[in-house]
């Protein structure tokens, strides 16, 4: 089994799916000869040609709109948004057409579309190369929202996303693109949407997170363990819409304490739903209040991004707080 990084794993997924199914096409800015600015689509144009690996004009509204039309007609497009921060021009297309065409048409048309792109901070990307905007999509029924944290999941989730018959927003934490390497099977496997992964087992606190925050959480958990002997169970949700309630509940049955960590902003952010849902429906499982750690409610700054995003100190502080209970 090759040891690959996330970019390579994503590339494998695309290549395998394009081989398997001639209806799969890739489109976006610079996905062809350039192979994407992060090289996720590298080499695909050589194997599949310009008809299936399509460099487009510079408009996210156009890329997504055209991809929806392709999906309706019978292709299975994977549309790349060069940085997910640029997706807002396509917001109308995503909400009104990608997410709601099935409903609008009484179920006659489906949109098997993946909209994928690098998200999240940690590479000094500033306001528009760093965002975690999953909350906007989580509030949009008809979509799936996915974010892998490691190469294995990236490949399996992307393959699965290409196969489902609804539109998927597929967010790739770019700070992980080349930093994590692991063994990834060359066979055809998928990771189901809506299933979390237990990153680390533990009995004292449940820490729910996803994307690059998995690694920050691991560091904070290690410190907590070393300093206090607490064992932290870390759950990587992997899919945000729908999120894996059962995984969280099972863990809470052991721990009774919940910390949610995400890179998206706090206010009306993705963690709010999880926190509210658990406190509303599973209060009996909780020893004390839930704690969210998130980016602050400001635009994403170029400077001091590590202070802006959840960092080890902030996660550790949250663990300390919930362990009071």
């Amino acid at each position: 089994m090759p040891r690959v990084n996330m970019v390579q794993a994503l590339n494998m997924a695309l290549r395998e799916e394009m081989r398997r199914d001639p209806r799969v096409v890739v489109l976006g800015e610079d996905v062809g000869r350039r192979g994407g600015v992060f090289l996720v689509t590298e080499g695909l144009i050589d194997e599949f040609g310009e008809e299936r690996v399509i460099d487009t004009p510079l408009t996210e509204m156009g890329i997504v709109g055209v991809a929806i039309g392709m999906a309706m007609y019978g292709l299975r497009p994977v549309a790349e948004i060069q940085f997910i921060d640029f997706i807002y021009e396509a917001f109308d297309q995503i909400v009104n057409n990608a997410a709601w065409m099935r409903f609008r048409s009484g179920g006659m048309y489906k949109i098997p579309l993946v909209i994928r792109g690098p998200c999240c901070g940690g590479i000094r990307g500033g306001m528009h190369h760093s965002q975690s905007n999953e909350a906007y999509f989580m509030h949009t029924p008809g979509l799936y929202v996915v974010m892998p944290s490691r190469p294995y999941d990236a490949k399996g989730l992307l393959k699965e996303s290409i196969r489902v018959d609804d539109a998927v927003i597929f967010l790739e934490p770019k700070s992980v693109y080349r930093t994590i390497r692991e063994e990834v099977p060359e066979d055809d496997y998928t990771v189901p949407l809506g299933k979390a992964r237990i990153v680390r087992e533990g009995d004292d606190v449940t820490l729910v997170t996803w994307g690059a925050m998995v690694y920050v959480a691991e560091q904070a958990a290690k410190i907590a363990e070393e300093k206090h002997g607490w064992s932290v169970e870390i759950i990587d949700l992997r899919t945000l819409l729908p999120w894996d309630r059962n995984a969280v509940i099972s863990s809470l049955e052991k721990t009774g304490r919940l910390v949610i960590v995400h890179e998206a902003r706090l206010f009306a952010g993705p963690g709010a739903e999880i926190s509210a849902y658990i406190a509303e429906n599973y209060i009996d499982l909780l020893r004390g209040p839930i704690k969210r750690v998130a980016s602050y409610d400001t635009p994403f700054p170029l400077v001091h991004e590590k202070l802006y995003m959840p960092n080890v100190a902030r996660v550790y502080k949250a663990l300390m707080e919930v362990m009071q209970w």
Partner: protein, 397 residues
Amino acid sequence: MESHVSEKVDLPFKPLPPEVLEEYSGRLREALGLKRVIDEEGRVVDEGLMPKLPPSEMREIYEYMVRARVIDSWLLKLQRMGRVALHAPNKGQEATAVGTAKPMKPQDWLFPSYRELGAYLVRGMSEEEILDRALNTIDDPLKGSDFAIYGNRKYNIVPAPVPVGNQIPLATGAAMAAKILGHDTVVVAMFGDGASSRGDFHAGLNFAGVFKAPVVFVLQNNQWAISVPVKRQTAAPSFAIKALAYGIPGVRVDGNDVLAVYSVVSEALERARRGEGPTLVEAVTYRLGPHTTADDPGRYRSEEEVKIAERYEPLKRFRKFLDSQGILTEKEALQMEEEWNARVEDIVKRVLEKPGLPKDVFFHNVYERRPWHLEEEYEEFKESLKVAEELGLELEE
């Protein structure tokens, strides 16, 4: 690596070659002209553009226009009775709708806007289906999703979006897909003058030009976007001229002349089918009715204006032509209209009797499989109906 040095780097620092100027001068003329086959009195003014159709088909075209007019007036009536949520009348624009749909093949796809009754009929949708949709009966093919839209996969008609114009890039995408799959399919997108201002128009036409997609864009310039006149929509002298921005041909045609629309759209369909790419057709027409049943045009346009526009009314005009050609007399035409009126009246009665959609209809068709939270909400919903019953609450009016 494919170098595009010679055409791309050397060239840009020179004026474009004279052939380009010539080609675009020709396009400019088409974009600023007006193609017509018959004038407002039904007299033939351009034999060359006359579609080669047997009298029976001419008659059929007229019949579609009549049917569009009849079902339009029934929808208006039903809206006033409170049975239809909203209707966007297509009175005055029947020639464009029918002239556009008629030359399309069954495998072609139509992405209409919300004002195309004539086109739906031509593609095979029946009055009954239109009424099922408008009245949201148990047979509504779109399951009560939105108002004023019609569509059915059976006829390759994609239900319109209510947000103006966002079907345009979808049409381009479908056309690109058809091309990639090697299908003999052309896609037609219909929309209004107002839609031309949207980002979607820009993206849809630009992609179509770049990828030579087999798609025909039919812009129905009916002079108004609700209360906004075309001069407030664009400073360009025509909408067809916008095609030049995308490197595609743009043709301005009299949209109240069904034969001219038929001809121009036919040609555009054939171009697309031959692999020569997209066309923008500007059909100049006039919305004779209100924008929708919720509109009050008296606030922004004069009756005098509407009266002038009525001179160009497409049914009367085509009728004069048919009469003069001995294809259909005025009397036969009148009779045809009466017959359809009676037929539709019967259908209306029948459809009004049908039950509505089930109470939980909106829980379907959100996803292929409902995720757990929606499943939970569905359970809560069913319980809430019980609570309402217990309380004796009438939740719907």
